[in-house]
Symmetry: C3
Subunit: 139 residues, 3 copies
């Protein structure tokens, strides 16, 4: 069985979503299995059009606004979050949506990109995946 | 020996405390050993009445204030942080308080819920626990 | 081969840099190998004079400003970030700078403390290090 990386995506910040998906795709590209468990603000990013909406975690620092980071990313041929998510799914990455968050924040299945989601689960689903993982991260 | 999960709780944000305790209790419920190492803003949550005081990490996003999240949690029968902490201790979860943070931030033992705390330690205590853990997270 | 800890340093917050370096030095002191992968706001901290510039992640909470935390740290004989980084390098800690971040944010090698950096890499370098690590954290 291949080595596994299991990521909790709690933050919905634009830049942290980037780190999460880049790490996830890197692990897939190197032959690992990857599961991402989306919860709290991270879950909001699974909404339709949700990937374009996150703020930078430090928007006002260093003079970088989201627009500027996007523009620089385009110039540097860095993929958009949407493209990174497509690649993630194409490479076989697994997504678990946190049911408790959905209930608390009033998110319905029809609000989400259902085609990305492999499972709707609770913390037990996460622990079951994570306890045999080589890489575990909380993002 | 059971598998182990070891969490650094650096953030004191209300929502991150939730994720931390839910993951911790989930791991305990599935038979793992769990240690949480509370440091910096996380340590403040171990103060008397500290669990009710954290801000949301994204309080102004998505229209969710802390009050609203609490209300929704009650309606969804999601336990309060206080209840989650009680469950954590009842299930055998271990808490280590960071002594360096106590010194820097002027926190005295008598300010803390001493009955929750198993150990007052430094980074060596954390590393010793974490190096054999299956799940390591920084929250 | 010694056990390994591999940290992604995504945040540039002053207090999170502290936690990262204290954990890293603690792991080195206990005989582990340590690699830190600096990306996004974390990478900014590798700039010349960059270690003095990070904000606290919760600057306005609890009445602690950065100046006050520094003062208290000095009184408590807690090392400065600069000193912690020196110790990290002296103890054999490895630093990888994220090339993608450098390109996106317009950071040139000459802007950085090149003497600290062991490798300029992409996500593959990180995964290669992390997949055999005992401790993996995203900070």
């Amino acid at each position: 069985m291949p080595d596994k990386a299991v990521l909790v995506v709690h933050s919905g910040d634009f830049d942290k979503m980037y780190s999460a998906l880049i790490i996830a795709n890197g692990a897939l590209a190197m032959g690992m299995d990857v599961s991402m468990y989306f919860t709290f603000w991270g879950l909001q990013r699974l909404k339709k059009n949700g990937l374009g909406k996150g703020p930078l975690s430090k928007m006002h620092m260093f003079g970088f606004g989201k627009w500027m980071v996007r523009k620089k990313m385009q110039k540097s041929n860095v993929a958009s979050l949407e493209k990174l998510m497509e690649d993630y799914k194409d490479l076989g990455g697994k997504i678990i949506a946190c049911e408790m968050t959905m209930e608390i924040m009033g998110v319905r299945k029809k609000d989400l990109h259902k085609e990305w989601i492999d499972d709707y689960g609770a913390v037990g689903t996460y622990i079951y995946e994570a306890k045999d993982a080589k890489i575990t991260l909380f993002i």
